[in-house]
Amino acid sequence: MNIGVLVFPGSNCDHDAYHALKHIHGIDTSFIWHKESDLGNVDAIVIPGGFSYGDYLRSGAIARFSPVMNSVASFASKGGPVLGICNGFQILLEARLLPGTMMANEQLRFSCKFINLTCRTNRTPFTSSVPTETILHIPIAHGEGNYFADDDLVKQLEDRDQIVFSYCDAFGNITEVANPNGSTANIAGICNETGNVVGMMPHPERAVEKQLGSNHGRFLFDSIDQYLTHSI
């Protein structure tokens, strides 16, 4: 099993993702530079957070045209698991591998703090063993995490089980107060229709050790570990 972590100029959570996968979960992990057009022998891809290309133009807008993204698109179309975290989520949106768009946080401030999350579906390779009754304690760190979807798209996401994570309060209630950035319907993460491409604003790779405040992020990496163990 081998997971590839993409690296763009301006990625800054690539080493955190590598650490979580390789050192915490013991999964063979390699970095893939954005100029590569060949993903090599990988079974899943993580697009990490950061500020690819300095967020010029729009977050993720330029990174999506990096050579590696063509390969990611074809990998995803064959059912390959892809997880985009924070800026990685923004890149997946710009690449149209996920629907909707990202706007500046409603309060116009960069927000870096632990939030509560509820996992809404176990059908993705990254959430298959996340306990849906557990309130996940995972940090966010973004200035543009205000997910926007119009009414039709929200309905589609709900009907097709594409909402993966929602911001909630400490008891799991999806309330306006628990929404840290103004995202439509408290959406924190979504997947494509087939469920193999997942994007999320919170950072599970920053929550893999209790000493750092939480290890709830491990549920996601355990999920992909188990998924790949059974599918390869």
Partner: protein
Amino acid sequence: MQVDIIITLRESILDPKGKASRHALENLGFREITEVRIGKFIQLEIDTDDPGEARKLAEQACEKLLANAVMENYEIRIPDNA
């Protein structure tokens, strides 16, 4: 040939930067300013003398990269040909 592009958020999309600026202007006493929308201005230099061709290329650039059609509108202006 110079081509100017103005990108604005679609009407239906909340513009938090515009909203914050409007409030600041209101605090400064500009009570007549009832709305502020903030967008982007992009200037292209295109190697052609044909305004039609320049417009077509600028349009493609907007569709492919410069604007995000989900939330933005774009307007192409060719100053020499205005």
